[in-house]
Symmetry: C2
Subunit: 346 residues, 2 copies
């Protein structure tokens, strides 16, 4: 029986959700997945850090109060975030990196990933920053150190997108994709179709916890742009930077536009997409598009996310599912560990 020693880097909703999964399901994973998990360290810039090579109690971690320096309340814990110690010296086989996404330089997450990979430790992450901004470097670093760098949760939380394309669609010759990759903006567009104004819909999304106080990353397409870079580089072997993706959002769409679309049986959607042209170069964009009712993404409503892959052999294959949520995103980390186990665990 394989047991993976895991260190959690960042202890917000996602890694707390992962600790919850460990608390609830570790015993059944032995039977269902062929491995179990031991949490040997946690570090968080706000909460502090803790290491125990014998394994931390996942239930106790889940119950930790969200207070500055809270890890000092646990035996052996510390109010300070000893990130490097937890990543390099906790004895972890795998680092689960789930700190905040920094869209400018991907830090400090990228440094955390580098530390782990350079030390021969697998990395699983739900963080768009390191993958979108430094993906090629980190993938090469992982290859050189014969470890995995997995990031299913960076796009559409635990809904399989990257792995679906890489494994199940291998050989289908993916030519491009179109996606609804931001739940907040799709919720806003759906509620506008239901009669709200743009501002009313944004306010409602904020009340429901979908949108931040500053909703611009969601409604102006910046969040989607990072995901388009990740998917284009992964699925189309592109080498795009964020600045290669033209980007506009949904804030110019009026109630009248929406009403006209509905009358025509069409839907406005914020679409992130990329396609490879016959010369092999990849063009990518984020923009609001008017989709006919027969388009596979036209019916995707509310906070649901979806990606439609276009391939030479299958035409359009579309997957939809949750795009956010702490347990849904924590599942992405588990699915990354399952993938690592498939390759390295036998």
């Amino acid at each position: 029986m394989t047991e993976y020693k895991i260190a959690l880097v960042g202890f917000g909703g996602v890694n707390r959700g992962f600790a919850q999964l460990v608390a609830d399901h570790n015993a059944e994973w032995k039977v269902a997945l062929g491995f179990s998990v031991r949490i040997v360290g946690v570090t968080d810039l706000f909460l502090g850090s803790i290491v125990d090579k014998d394994g931390l109690d996942a239930k106790q971690l889940v119950a930790l109060p969200t207070e500055k320096g809270a890890f000092a309340q646990l035996p052996g814990g510390n109010a300070e975030a000893f990130n490097e110690t937890v990543i390099k010296h906790s004895g972890a086989d795998i680092i689960a990196e789930a700190t905040f996404t920094n869209p400018v330089d991907g830090e400090p997450a990228t440094t955390f990933c580098r530390w782990a990979l350079e030390s021969g430790i697998h990395v699983v992450t739900t963080n768009k920053g390191p993958v979108a901004l430094h993906g090629a470097e980190l993938k090469a670093l992982a290859r050189r150190n014969n470890v995995a760098f997995e990031y299913e949760g960076a796009v559409m939380s635990g809904t399989p997108v990257i792995r679906l394309a890489r494994q199940a669609l291998a050989g289908s010759n993916i030519l491009g994709f179109e996606g609804i990759l931001n739940g907040t903006s799709n919720y806003v567009l759906t509620q506008m179709k239901n009669g709200l104004t743009f501002n009313e819909a944004v306010t409602q999304a904020q009340q429901l916890g979908y949108a931040e106080a500053d909703p611009s990353a969601d409604v102006e397409g910046f969040d989607v742009r990072l995901k388009v870079v990740i998917l284009a580089n992964e699925l189309l072997d592109a080498r795009l930077n964020v600045s290669d993706v033209t980007c506009s959002g949904i804030s110019n769409i009026t109630a009248q536009d929406i009403a006209q679309a509905t009358a025509d049986g069409a839907s406005w959607k914020l679409i992130g997409c990329a396609e490879r042209d016959v010369q092999g170069s990849v063009r990518a964009s984020v923009e609001a598009r008017l989709l006919p009712g027969t388009h596979p993404l036209a019916g995707i409503g509310g906070a649901i996310n979806a990606v439609s892959f276009h391939s030479e052999l299958l035409g359009a294959v579309t997957v939809s599912g949750p795009g956010a949520g702490r347990i849904e995103t924590a599942f992405a980390l588990l699915s990354d560990i399952v993938a690592i186990h498939t390759v390295y665990g036998k």
Copy 2:
């Protein structure tokens, strides 16, 4: 470089499509997938058979006329279908079984699969019969002989369903599924929504080649029932027989039912589904259902197929794509070989 020697059993649309894929893509598979394919034998009850351990010309196979005994026209070919010789003695590593589905006893395909598995030869198939009627026996036979029995194409052609659930959703705790698993009946319902009567829509589906002269397997749910058995046994660890699945079709749905649904923003769909209850037993059915407009399957129109998985950790994840087509189904055979290569090829 791994080369898989493949024998094709049945040479109708699907395996002819597979030969087309080999003719067009074998060279690129070496780079993209890490293996190439050599067709060492073909047998077909109508066309006859041929074996060449040095490899048959895939292009020549594709061009074979559809005439009784046509393989006799090729050097070394025979008008008779020497099935057992081709399966057991062509030197194949993998049998691609794509004969017709026999919904009564799964023969002769099941015997073909047994011959291969007993001889230590992997089987990939797009045939629902052996999997739905004798799946447990054939899976056990494969395990005992340390070979693979793969059948992605038995449900939704090359659209990943079985492998998506088995690999990418592993650990999500799938509790049930609902699917639109028959393109003909979905096309009929879609065209009734567009104003045709049931009989007009069936006639149109026949003219387009979706429906057989006797459309009852499609519109009465019998085809879907086989797929529900396959998915329930695969995804929910059920041990269902065909007779365990209650089954009704769409022939009683009237134009008036459809009009009323449309007025209510709802859609009639032929749904194959199964779910595990809290005691662990699995209930499965095929029936026409009235889906609200927000249901993930409500917007699936035309001949497209889709499955919505319900899991404990992700809620609903839905995949849609082609449910038929010769190249689309042949791709399923390729994806099965990719899966075999992942496990056995390293």
